[in-house]
């Protein structure tokens, strides 16, 4: 029992550290990718290729003066960024990062918590994420922050509907709410029994497209970055924030991006599964390669997020709401019904 707890503790710390590390280097990656997409060089002064830039940025954030406006609600003002960070880090608990490690005949799953309602937990925590932004924007007592917070909350709530319906479609295919099962079902690349590719994206690509668009909106990334659009809202919900509290908001966005990329690769791109994984018989080798594969898929999606950000201009607010309510939700409902009919017709339910 004690080894179990120690193992879980190590895993928690490792996942926590890796999420923060990847989020940290996402800021660097974002700037580099933005630069390359615009024929620039990007940060290249701090360390080789500018690799120490995130550390320098973090140090800068820590050293800055911390300003809490007099008119703000101080408790909520501090709570906001903390909550944003907390919820974004919480979600990593249910994601299986790789197949089980086997040491001395004991299985060590590379997943912090194997709950049988993992998907539900994920969406529960993600929807709490909006509170961090809302509380921060409201507590600032600044009209721009409030407008940013309003935009954020209405946007996230709108897109959560379409996202939820697309996830229901996914669950109809998988028949399970457990993230472990979803990963195991997409074993390998080609399923001999069904005669079809095993990853969910090949089973229902429309669901993936809807999910992807909603994930962009949920993480407040471009082209859905209205809550923090500099041109209209002076920075949005974090206008009044300074020092590391601002850093927490910015960081939480990158952690969110990392987690949603991980979720996308888990739900639709087979998670840790890779083609010809049955050819390797040593379970530990599979586990290590699987973990690497999982992280490569995640990093690829982070790259796509950034790629999109530096390609597409921001939506206007009414366009955003139109897309959410008039297109994505009907589309996801049609997708849901069609998938249901297909599954019923082929006798799978």
């Amino acid at each position: 029992m004690s080894t179990y707890i120690i193992y879980k503790l190590i895993l928690v710390v490792a996942v926590f550290a890796i999420s923060l590390l990847i989020a940290m280097y996402s800021t660097y990656g974002e700037r580099k990718i933005a630069a390359f997409l615009q024929d620039r060089l990007g940060p290249n002064r701090a360390g080789p290729f500018g690799l120490l830039q995130p550390l320098a940025d973090g140090l800068k954030m820590f050293m800055k003066e911390e300003i809490i406006p007099n008119v703000s609600n101080k408790f909520l003002f501090v709570l906001g960024p903390g909550l944003a960070m907390l919820t974004s880090l919480c979600t990593s608990a249910v994601i299986p990062w790789g197949p089980d490690l086997v040491i001395n005949g004991i299985k060590y799953p590379l997943q912090v918590a194997d709950v049988n309602i993992g998907v539900l937990y994920l969406f529960g925590v993600v929807s709490i994420g909006v509170y961090g932004i809302m509380i921060g924007g409201w507590a600032s007592n600044n009209k721009y922050s409030l407008l940013g917070a309003l935009r954020a909350s209405s946007q996230m709530i709108s897109y959560e509907v379409a996202m939820g319906i697309s996830v229901i479609t996914l669950i109809m295919i998988t028949g399970s709410l457990s993230t472990t099962h979803i990963a195991e079902q997409q074993h390998g690349f080609y399923n001999e029994h069904s005669g079809w590719l095993s990853w969910n994206v090949f089973k229902n690509p429309i669901t993936f497209v809807i999910f992807f668009i909603c994930a962009l909106a949920e993480t407040n990334r471009a082209p859905f970055d209205l809550p923090e659009c500099e041109t209209e809202l002076v920075g949005g919900y974090h206008t009044e924030y300074s020092s590391m509290k601002l850093g927490f908001y910015l960081f939480a966005e990158y952690v969110n991006m990392f987690i949603s990329s991980a979720v996308m690769s888990l739900f639709f791109f087979g998670g840790y599964n890779f083609p010809w994984m049955d050819k390797i018989h040593d379970p530990n080798t599979v586990a290590i390669i699987g973990t690497v594969v999982m992280f490569s898929k995640t990093i690829f999606f982070i790259f796509v997020f950034m790629w999109i950000r530096w390609t597409i201009p921001r939506f206007r607010y009414d366009q955003l709401m139109n897309l959410g309510w008039k297109i994505l939700i009907p589309l996801s409902i049609i997708n849901l019904v069609a998938t249901g009919l297909l599954l019923w017709g082929t006798g799978r339910i």
Partner: protein
């Protein structure tokens, strides 16, 4: 009417087709374009390490030349200050004392000579006005600074060094036309410093 370029397009407000209204193909097209830039060579030049190639006759930071024996050529006539359209040049003249012949070429010299680099427009009119071939613009770029006052360059920054390695090359500013113009007998006394001519022979000539 003939258009200036062939790139003008007639705008049409026709209804978009279903595929166009989906926007996804257009978005993918946009992403293809940005990706093509990803692999392109960056246009950025790492400035202090790498410098852009500059034109032959580049007009940058000024230099006040010395003559063959290392005496300042400037005689503080003030023609450069008069010619300067930006009024960037000021100077104070002083009389050469006995025993200072090796320092100042003419009997009058500039005790203070200042160019305000923030006012200067680097037109090169001072160089054109100078009868003593003293002031020249060079291919050096005026570096950035923090204080406005630091951009007022005095003689300490403008006058070139005495030894050969501290001399500033201004041959690029001496175009063929300029050199030909300067062969006029009126300019003979101003002949530029020539490394082939030794100081002795020059002194013997006078």
């Amino acid at each position: 009417m003939q258009s200036l370029t062939n790139r003008s397009k007639v705008v049409s407000n026709k209804k978009m087709t279903f595929l166009e209204r989906m926007y996804l193909p257009a978005i993918l097209g946009g992403m293809r374009i940005t990706m093509s830039h990803f692999f392109r060579k960056p246009a950025t030049i790492n400035y202090p390490e790498v410098k852009r190639p500059i034109a032959e006759g580049f007009r940058g930071q000024h230099v006040l030349k010395r003559d063959e024996i290392g005496a300042e050529r400037c005689t503080a006539c003030g023609l450069c200050a008069v010619a300067c359209p930006a009024e960037a040049i000021t100077m104070t003249a002083a009389e050469r004392k006995k025993g200072e012949e090796h320092l100042y070429r003419e009997e009058k010299y500039a005790a203070v000579y200042e160019i305000n680099m923030l006012r200067c427009i680097f037109c090169g009119l001072c160089e054109e006005a100078c009868p003593k071939e003293s002031i020249f613009l060079t291919d050096r770029i005026v570096p950035s600074d923090f204080e406005r006052n630091d951009f007022v360059y005095g003689k300490d920054k403008l006058v070139e060094g005495v030894t050969d390695d501290l001399r500033i090359d201004i041959s690029k500013r001496q175009t063929k036309a300029v050199l030909e113009f300067k062969t006029h007998p009126e300019y003979q006394h101003n002949k530029l410093w020539d490394p082939n001519k030794s100081i002795k022979s020059k002194n013997a000539g006078h």
